[in-house]
């Protein structure tokens, strides 16, 4: 197979954050601590225009996410529009509330794939993490309906100290539900997850055990389910190529229409984000200051600047660099070559060894959450 998808500098994925509204309050949620409100959300016509522009720009996959994307009353229209312009649509959902009822309509609208998140393998624990009684059972019913409708299903589970001992049960559950793919996603510390890091951080021993387990299961389950593993940064040797490299593969449209190079980019001070209200996606991709800021390698400092991996991982994540070093242009501390690497290892070890503090649950009016950001270091 050739490599046209990697060579050209056109985006292949669009994360459409349709709303920040959500019935759950997962303490690991990577959404921003300051959520955008319903009154500022884009209307149906604007989303459809943006999706048409995305297709024309070369985007292949659209991830309909949020918040809870099915909380939008026009989710069927938006999905149908994806199908109309040839975009592959992926619904990223909690499966809670109205989601079940809307599923058939979404299939009829041409939905291609569903990614359902679960919090644990047993209801008691899952409901306490999601902060809603009955949530887990709703999710199971939703998963069954996805299979009944013959849609491909991915199960996503975010892993942290509160569920890392049940990775094996989560894999079993995903298989028994009929999922073709399961994502074991170690918590990425953005948004609420950053605020709640101490309540989420597992120990290195727990991480090593769970990764070994996933690798063994991958072989055992080959041909039955594909297991994708998102490894935990704080215990890593090299960082991830965040978003496939800044401004290289992905665009993220926020509920109010701001276009970001990644989910958390707004945490970086001084960046100017253009809005779909004022510019076309093509224009934003090519010229917006936020996309230009860390595209390529010219912005890099040492050790990235002269590193042979600089076009492989693109220096890691800018948001994580900022959050942990105070400088968005420094090497992601997940990299063992970063001068801050030992600091985050020490931090992870200390937090994971201490008793888990009570997490702060996300919600609107989040001042309590914000106070804690500075205290975590």
């Amino acid at each position: 197979m050739s490599d046209a998808l990697n060579d050209a500098l056109t985006p292949i994925g669009l994360l459409a954050e349709l709303t920040h509204r959500c019935p759950l309050r997962c303490p690991y949620c990577s959404n921003p601590v300051e959520l955008e409100r319903r009154s500022s959300e884009l209307d149906t016509a604007t989303w459809c225009r943006v999706l048409s522009e995305a297709a024309a720009l070369g985007v292949l996959h659209v991830h309909l996410s949020g918040g809870e994307p099915t909380a939008r009353s026009d989710i069927e229209t938006i999905t149908a529009h994806c199908a109309k312009v040839g975009l592959y649509s992926n619904l990223i959902t909690s499966g809670i509330g109205i989601a079940l009822e809307k599923l058939r309509g979404l299939v009829e609208a041409g939905l291609d794939h569903v990614q359902l998140s679960i919090q644990a393998a047993d209801a008691a624990r899952a409901d306490s993490i999601a902060h809603l009684k009955g949530a887990h059972d709703q999710k199971l019913a939703f998963a069954r309906h996805v299979i009944e409708l013959d849609l491909p299903l991915t199960i996503n589970a975010v892993i942290h100290r509160g569920n890392i001992d049940s990775v094996s049960d989560i894999l079993d559950l995903a298989v028994s539900l009929g999922a073709k793919r399961v994502e074991i996603a170690h918590t990425q510390y953005y948004g609420w997850a950053f605020v709640n890091r101490a309540a989420l951080m597992p120990t290195r021993a727990e991480v090593d055990r769970s990764i070994a387990l996933v690798e063994a299961a991958r072989e055992q389950l080959q041909g039955r389910i594909v297991i994708d593993l998102v490894v935990p940064d704080y215990y890593a040797k090299y960082p991830k190529a965040c978003a496939g490299g800044w401004g290289r593969r992905l665009m993220n449209v926020s509920p109010s229409g701001k276009v970001l190079p990644c989910h958390a980019a707004e945490t970086i001070p001084g960046l100017t984000f253009w809005s779909v209200h004022d510019h076309s996606l093509a224009d934003i991709w090519a010229r917006s200051p936020a996309f230009e800021a860390f595209r390529g390698t010219a912005w890099m400092q040492e050790p990235c600047r002269s590193c042979e991996r600089r076009e492989r991982d693109w220096g890691g994540c800018r948001c994580q660099a900022l959050a942990l070093t105070g400088n968005a242009a420094s090497t992601d501390p997940a990299c063992h070559l970063s001068p801050h690497h030992s600091l985050i290892q020490t931090l992870a070890a200390a937090e994971s060894a201490a008793p888990s503090p009570t997490p702060i649950y996300r919600g609107f009016g989040a001042s309590a959450g914000r106070q804690h950001i500075g205290e975590t270091a």
Binding site: A4, L5, H113, V226
Partner: protein
């Protein structure tokens, strides 16, 4: 489950997997959940014959006739390529003498 395709298997693209002509990059891609495979000419030729009716044997015969090549060599290549898609859960197939989907 084993890598089970044989010449008699009848492959199909399951729901959620489809061919797409990418006009921006001037190539054909196979779109699947969270993945896009950039297809070379051979892979595209094979996948265009995957329709849930033809067996692998028939697909190989068709290609062998068109390219004036040895059918058994082509058949082995097609089985290999399609097996790798089965492993990734982006191809379904009916096996000869059963109605089991791998």
């Amino acid at each position: 489950m084993m890598r089970g395709l044989s010449a008699g298997s009848i492959p199909h693209l399951p729901r959620g997997v489809r061919l797409h002509h990418d006009m921006i990059r001037n190539t054909h891609v196979l779109l699947a959940p969270e993945r896009a495979f950039d297809l070379d000419t051979v892979a595209l030729e094979v996948l265009m014959l995957v329709d849930g009716r033809r067996s692998i044997r028939e697909i190989a015969s068709d290609l062998a006739a068109r390219y004036d090549a040895d059918r058994s060599v082509i058949e082995a290549d097609v089985i290999d390529m399609l097996n790798s898609l089965v492993d990734r859960r982006i191809l379904g197939a009916l096996s000869p003498g059963s109605d089991q989907k791998p």
